[in-house]
Symmetry: D3
Subunit: 281 residues, 6 copies
C-alpha cells in the first residue's frame, strides 16, 4: 500500500462527510483504467468549472463539509481487500458518512465489510447496468463482476435493491433469487418510486447505470441506460432515508475524451453529498 | 464480388437465424464508411465485452442460434444490386429469418426484392430519421436516400410504417402520400403503440433513428432523435408479430471514436434476434 | 472591429429574417472557443449534410428567407459592447427579426440594449443551465456569467423566464428574486407549458441547456440537462408568440470532436427560424 | 457575398501585413469543413494560449503588425472567384504583403489572379502533399485539385516549385512537365536547400504537406509527410526572398479533435509573418 | 469458419497480387479490435479519398492488379490455425505473391506454414515494436506475443530480421540468440541499409512499428517508434529483393478516432504492392 | 493537505528510487488538468499493457526498484509550496534519487528547494518548449511560467541548461542572460551532444518539449517540438552523469483522448529510471 509520511497528517475536525479514493482496477474483468478516476472526479467537482451548490440549495463549499482522506493505492488485490476495509473502518470511527470513489466495483465488498461491523442491518441501493452477482467470473471471485455475490453470501447486508439492470442472465437471476434481491430492470424502470428505504442506507452508484451517451467513460458500454436526470431524480427522492455511506465506481477516464463523464460523476457526488447533509440536518 | 474459396463452405445446420453482412457504401449520398460496419457489430456482440442474454431472458449463446454467412463485398453498385438479392434469396431458402448488417440504407431495396418473392404480402416497419423516399437524389436513383421509393413503386411491400422521421420535406411528403405510407414523425412519437402488425413483418433499423447523442457513428447526424431505450421499447412491444427479416444499417465506424455506436448496434441486433426467437417459439 | 470593404455591401432585399454572427469569447469566464462557432453553425445548416425544411413543414431554402450580415470580430470587450449594439440596431431598422449567433453569452447584453430601444416591453425566454445573473464574476461585470444581471438592472426587459437552470446558488437566487425572474429549474421541468408569452418575445438559447450527452461542445459541461427533443418541443410550443429576435450562444467547437453539437445548434437555428416565419405569416 | 455594414469600416493605418480569411469549401473534391478554419486559426494565434514572438525574435504583438480584413463568405463558387480576386486586389493597393487564410486550396487561383496584376513575374513556392495540377477533377475545373493547373495555363506565375508531394500520378506528372514545374517529392526531400528564390515570392502552404500525425485536421490524410519542424526549417531558410504574399489552406477543424492542427496552422502563420517582416526590414 | 455461398465464386484471372483478410483477434494478449481492420484498410485504399499510384509511379488501379479473396472469419483459434494455412496455400497455387491483412500478429504463424511449403528457404523481414518471440505468454502459445517463436522453433524460415524493436527483455533476447535473429532495435536504427535480402522474402509489417503519433490505432502503444516516412524508406529500399508475400497486422480501428491509422495502413499496402510489382517486372 | 492515516505507513526498505506524485495544477497559467496525471502515468507503466525492461536491458520489475510514496494533494498554493519541499526532503533522507510526477511545472521550485539543501552544487537539465523564466506572469509569481526564475534568483542551482525551447521572447531572453542559462532552442537542436554534465544532475522533463503529435495531452500545444525518439536519445546519452533527481510534469490527461501521452510519459519515466540505476551501478 502506498501512503504518505505521517508528518502530513491532518486531523479530522468535525467535517460532515468523509471522502476517500481507492485507486484500484486490478480486479476489472474487461479493461482497466478506473484506478485513475478519483483525482479526475475531485478536479471536476472542486475545480474552476464547477460551483458547489446542489440543485436543492445545499452549499457544499464550506470547510467543514468534507474530510478528504486522499487516495489509496495497493500493490495486490489481497492488500486492497484488507486495506480498503481498514481505511473505511477508521473513517467510520468519526461517526460520519463515508463516500468512496472507485476504482472498479470490486471495492464495494471490502467497503461493506467495514460498514457491516458498524451497521449490522444495512440496506444497499445499487444503481448499475449489471447485477454483479456472479459466483465466479473468469476465475476471479473478487472481480468487479462479483462483489454483491460476496456481500450477500456473507450476509453483510439485510437487503439489496438493484435499479437499472439490463444484462441479467440465467446464472445471475438464480443468484438474485437466492439472496432475495429486489431487481428493477431498466426495461421496467418508471422513475423513482417509494422503496421504503428506512434502515441505514448505503448507495452503490456504478456510473454505467447511465446510458453510454451520458457516460461514455466506463469500462463496459451497455446501451439502453438511464439519463443523468433520471439518476438525479432517484437521489433527490431519497427523502426519509438515513444514508450512512456511498460509493461512486467504474468511471474510466481512459474512455472519456470530452470529459463529460468526469463532470457527471462529480455531479452525482455533489447531489449525493447534499442529500446526505439534507437528511442529517 | 469478392468471395471465398469453396473449400471453406460451411453447411447450414438448423440454425434459427441467418446473419449476413453487406459491406456497401458506394451509394451513400453524403459520406462513406458504413461498409466497415459488419465486423465492428459482430465483435461488439460476440466479443469479450458482451453477454448474449437478451433483456427478456433469451440466451443467444447457443451454437444453433446464428448461421453467419459472412460479409459480401461488391465491385460496383450494379453488382451489389444483383448480388445482395441473390445472397438473401439463397439464405431464405433455409426457411429462417434473415438479418442483414449494412452498409448504407441502399441495401434494403435488393434485400426486399428477395423477400417479396417469398413473402408477397410484406409489411415493413422502418425506424429512421429520414423517409428515404426520394424519387431521385443527386442523380442516383439507387442511393441511400431512395430505397423506399424503389420498394413502394415496385409494390414490393403491402404496407410501410415509418417511425422516428424528422426530416420530412415537400417532395417526400408527396411520395409518402402516394404510397400510403404511415409516418410517425419524431415530433409526434409517444412510445410504442398498437400498430397491429400481423402480416409477415420486416424491420429496417437505420441507426440514425437514434439521437446522435446515443449513436454518433452515423453518416448523417440528425438531432432530436430517439433514445436507445425508446428504440428497445418498440422492439420489445412487437409481441404478436411474425418477424421474417430485418436489417441494421447506416452505422459508420469512422464517426464513432468512443465505440458506443458499435455497442448500440450490437444491442439492437441482440434484442431483435431475441424477439424473433421469442415470437417463433 | 474587423470588417470588410464597402465595395462588397449587399443590399437588404425583403428577406424575412436577419442573421448575424458575433465571434466573441473574450468575456468567457472559464474557457474560450465559442468565437469560432458561427461558421460551423452556418456550414452545418446550409452545407451538404442538411436539408432546409423544418419539422412542421416550413421550407427555409428560399432566397428571401435569410439576410446574412456575416460575422463580426472585435478587438476588445469595449469595442464589442458598442459594436454589437450598433450592428443589431442597424439590422432591426429593416423591420425583421434578428437572430444572432454567438460567441459566448456576454453578447446578449448589448443585443438586448439594441432591442429595448425598438421594443420597450420585451419578454425574454432564456434556455440555459445557468442563471447568468451574477452581479460580478471574477471581477468582470461583462462576463458571460452576468448578462441577465445587466439586462435586468438596466430594466431592458419587462419579464425574464428561465428554463433548464441547474446551477442556482444563493447569490443568484437573490438576484432572481430581486428582478422577479420566473425560474423553471431542470429538476422541476415537465415539458412545455402555457407560459402566456404574448408581448414581443426574445429567445436566448444557451446550448448548454442541453445535457452534455446531446451537446458536448460547450464551455461548461453541466450534466442533468434537457434532451434536444425537449428543447425542440419548447420551440414548437411557442404558438401565439410574436418572436422578434433570438440568439444561439455558447457552442464551443473546440469541444465537439464528433460534430454533433454543431448539427444540434443548426437544428435549433432551423426550427427557431421556421417558428418565427410560421408565427409571422 | 456576405459582408458587414459600412458603418464599421476600419481604416488601413500603416500596418505591415494584411490578413484576410476566405470561408470557402464548396470546391472541395472530397469532404468539406475548411470554411470554418479562419476563426480557429486567429484564436489559436491571438488567444490566451499563445505568445506573439517568433522563433527568431520578431515580436508580432504590436498594433501596427496586422491589418485584419476579416472573413469573407460567398454564396456560390462564381461569386467566390470574383470576390476573392477583388478583395485581394483591394488589399494589395496598400502596398503590403497579403496573407490569406483558407478555406480549401481552390482559393489560390483567384488570389494569384490578383497578385499577377501587381507582380507579373511571380514565383510560387507550394508546400503540399498533392500537386493540385488536375486539368479537370470530378467535372469541376475550379476544384481544390486544380488551382495550379489554372494558374499555370493562364501564365499567372513565372515559376512554380512544389515541395512535399507524395501523390503524383501520370496525368499530373504530364501537367508538371508541360508547365515546367519543379517538384521535390517527399520521398526525395532532404530539408531546405538553396532554391534561389529571388523574384517576388508567393508561398502557398497547404497544411496537408505535414504528416497527419502533426496535422490530422485536413480533408485528405496523406501519410508520409513532413514534420512541423521540417516545415518551419523551410520557412526559416527563406532568407534572401522578397515575400509578397502567402496563403495557409486546407485546415479542416472538423477533423481536429485535440486542436493540435489549429495550433500548428497558427504557428505557420506566425513564423511566415515574422519572416516577411524580417526580410522587409 | 464463416464463408460465402459458392454461387458467388469469382475465378482467379491472371491478377498480379492476391489479397486476403483474416478477421482474427482472439489471440490478442491485451485488447481486441484488430479483427475489424481489413474492411477499413480496403476502404482507405480503394475509396474516394485515395489514388492508386505509388510514390515511384506504379499505377495499381488496373483490374489485373489485385485478386481480392475477401475476409475470413473463424469460430475458434484452432479453426483459424488451419483455416488461415489452407486459405493462403490455395492462393499460393496461383503463383502470385499473397498479401494478408490482419487481424492480430498471431496470423503470421499459420501464414508462414503455408509459405514454407512453397518456399523452403524463406527470409522474413519483420517491422515491429515487439520481438513477438515469447515461448509462452499468458498461457497461450498461439498468442500475438509468440508467432515468431513458433515460426523459428519449427524452422519455417531460414532467417529472421527484425527492425524497430523497442521492448526487448531478457527472455526474448535469449530467444533471439537461440534462433539467430538479426535485431535492429529502434534505439540503433539509422534508416535502410544493405540487408542483402536475396532469398525469397516475406515482409511482416506490424503497424505498431510506427510511433503512436503516426499510428494511434494499435492495441499496444509503444512510444519512440518510426515515422511513416522511415517505414516507407525501408520498403522503397528493397530493390533487389524477390518479395513473395507480406502481411500488415495489428491495426486496431477501435483506437483510431481520426482515421489516420487506416490511411497509413493503406499507404503501406499500396507501396508494398507497388514494390512487389516493380521487382517482378 | 490531504493524506492517509498513519496506520498505513510502509517502511522504506532499500529501494533504489523514490517515486512521488504531486497532484497540483492550481498554478497553471492556462488550463488545468495536470493534477490527474500521476495515477495515469503509474497505470501506463505498471499496468498490463507495459513491460518493465528498459531499452538498454535494465529490468525495473523488481520489488526493490521503486519506493512509491503515493500522491499528495494540497488545499492551497501556499500549502503546496511547503508541503512539496517537506515531502521531497523526507524522501531524500533515504539517500536515493527522487522522481516526482506532476502536476504542472510550478512544483519544480519547491522540489529544487529541497534538493538544494542536500546538493548545493546542482546542475539542472530542463527539457521544455518554454523557458518558464517569467519574473511574474498574470500576477502569480508561483505560476508554471516562472519556476526557473524563482530557482535561479534564489541561486538554488549552479547551472541551468534548457533544451527544446521554442517560445523565447524578449523578457525571457533577458532572464536567461541574467542567470547565464544555456539555451538550446528547438530550431538549433541537432540531437544529444556532449554537455559535460558532471556535477549532481537534476532532470526536469516537461512533456510539452515533445511535439503535440507525440504528446497531445499537455496544457500548452506548441508545435515544432521533439519526437519521442529524440527525447529518448538525450536520456540515453547521459552516460557519465550522476542523476540525483528528476521530475516529469505537465501531462494533462484531459487532452489525451487516445492515451498516447500517458504511455509516452510512462516510457520517459521508465528510461529515466533505468538510466539512473545504470549510472549508479
Amino acid at each position: 500500500m502506498s501512503n504518505l509520511n505521517q508528518t502530513f497528517l491532518k486531523e479530522f475536525d468535525q467535517e460532515k462527510i468523509a471522502l476517500v479514493g481507492f485507486a484500484c482496477d486490478e480486479n476489472s474483468s474487461y479493461i482497466r483504467g478506473a484506478a485513475a478516476a478519483p483525482p479526475m472526479i475531485r478536479e471536476a467537482l472542486f475545480g474552476e468549472a464547477s460551483n458547489l451548490w446542489s440543485e436543492h440549495g445545499i452549499d457544499l463549499g464550506h470547510t467543514d463539509t468534507f474530510f478528504d482522506a486522499g487516495d489509496f493505492h495497493f500493490n495486490s488485490p489481497q492488500e486492497a481487500l484488507s486495506g480498503i476495509e481498514t481505511a473505511v473502518s477508521n473513517l467510520l470511527q468519526h461517526e460520519v458518512p463515508v463516500i468512496s470513489l472507485g476504482g472498479d466495483h470490486s471495492i464495494t465488498f471490502p467497503i461493506i465489510r467495514a460498514f457491516q461491523k458498524k451497521y449490522p442491518e444495512l440496506t444497499i441501493l445499487q444503481l448499475d447496468a449489471h447485477p454483479d452477482l456472479y459466483y465466479n467470473f473468469k476465475e476471479n471471485p473478487l472481480s468487479n463482476a462479483s462483489p454483491f455475490a460476496r456481500i450477500m453470501e456473507h450476509q453483510l447486508a439485510s437487503r439489496l435493491i438493484q435499479i437499472g439492470i439490463r444484462t441479467m442472465n440465467g446464472h445471475q437471476q438464480q443468484q438474485a433469487d437466492r439472496y432475495n434481491v429486489t431487481v428493477i430492470e431498466m426495461k421496467d424502470f418508471q422513475g423513482p418510486t417509494n422503496l421504503n428505504l428506512k434502515t441505514p442506507l448505503y448507495i452503490s452508484f456504478d456510473i454505467d447505470v447511465l446510458d453510454p451517451a451520458f457516460a461514455p467513460g466506463v469500462s463496459h458500454h451497455e446501451p439502453g441506460g438511464m439519463s443523468t436526470r433520471q439518476a438525479l431524480d432517484i437521489i433527490h427522492a431519497l427523502d426519509g432515508a438515513n444514508i450512512v455511506g456511498a460509493d461512486i465506481v467504474e468511471f474510466n477516464p481512459r474512455r472519456d475524451p470530452t470529459g463529460i463523464t468526469a463532470m457527471t460523476a462529480a455531479k452525482i457526488l455533489k447531489e449525493l453529498s447534499a442529500k446526505i447533509i439534507e437528511t442529517k440536518s
